[in-house]
């Protein structure tokens, strides 16, 4: 593990309304903005959009596919843009430094049109 290493990119299938319904149930986040078109329109929003935490779960999976989860010390993201329904995020990551036995990763979720939806970072034990 060294600076500049890249994690194998993860291309997700499109996030469908079914994906959002399942994630709402599994996560316990029942905010109607993710599952109920009528509620969205009632407040002037055109369509449902994905839970930010769904993309954070994807980006976390990028990390735990690469190192066992027990080596993940911290993980954070900033939600930079909404993920519209029926878009397919791509998750990528890069090692930015390795020092004192810890590797620092930069993480990103991006849509095919170039919109960056999540910018994140993680610290894992370099093992």
């Amino acid at each position: 593990m060294k600076t500049g290493d890249t994690l194998p990119a993860m291309e997700l299938p499109p996030i469908t309304r079914t994906t959002l319904a399942l994630y709402a149930g599994a996560s316990g986040d029942h905010n109607p903005m993710h599952i109920d078109l009528d509620q969205c329109r009632a407040v002037g929003v055109d369509d449902v959009f994905a839970h930010g935490m769904l993309s954070m779960a994807y980006l976390g999976r990028l990390v735990t596919n690469w190192v066992p989860q027990e080596r993940v010390r911290s993980y954070k993201v900033r939600f930079a843009a909404i993920t519209p329904v029926n878009t397919a995020p791509v998750c990528t990551g890069t090692v930015t430094s390795v020092e004192n036995g810890l590797a620092h990763l930069d993480l990103k979720a991006e849509l095919p049109d170039g919109t960056v939806t999540l910018l994140g970072s993680a610290v894992v034990t370099a093992g």
Partner: protein, 152 residues
């Protein structure tokens, strides 16, 4: 609706959440997780775990398993539909597993506004413990925006 800085330091009612295997399997399905370590007890044990592990972001979900999860917002006069998730951070102290009962203790740690109050930010920190042992720390930053179609 403007949030008062005086809510910094206030607490959300503490709660306990039991981690259930079935719920972890449902979460794995919903997030496209196909590694059997997260759904199959034999695979988890073969990898050195005592039960199905709680995946990195699932602590956030367990935190929402409180009675009336949007009650914190509605009591402050915030429409849950106006919320956008700004940032989320997890620091991990120890692994947690199905069968664990985890304790959640949340404090409001910051409140601030941008764009002349059009966007307000609310930061909360949650300590997750198991029988007093630190498991994870969550820092949650939500944005409260003015909804285009809603009356102020």
């Amino acid at each position: 609706m403007q949030l008062s800085p005086s809510i910094v330091g206030s607490r959300v009612p503490e709660h306990d959440a039991l981690v259930e295997r079935g719920r972890l399997r449902f979460f794995a399905k919903a997030t496209g997780q196909t590694d059997p370590l997260y759904t199959d007890l034999d695979a988890a044990e073969a990898a050195g775990h005592r039960d199905l592990p709680v995946p990195p972001t699932f602590f956030f979900c367990l935190d929402m398993d409180r009675p009336n999860p949007s009650g914190f917002y509605t009591e402050l006069g915030i429409d849950p539909r106006s919320l956008l998730h700004g940032e989320e951070e997890f620091t991990y102290h120890a692994m947690a597993y199905a069968g664990d009962t985890l304790h959640f203790r949340t404090t409001v740690t910051d409140v601030y506004a941008k764009k002349g109050g059009a966007l307000q930010f609310l930061v909360r920190t949650t300590e997750v413990t198991r029988d007093g042992e630190p498991i994870a720390t969550l820092t949650n930053n939500v944005v409260i925006r003015q909804l285009p179609g809603a009356s102020a």
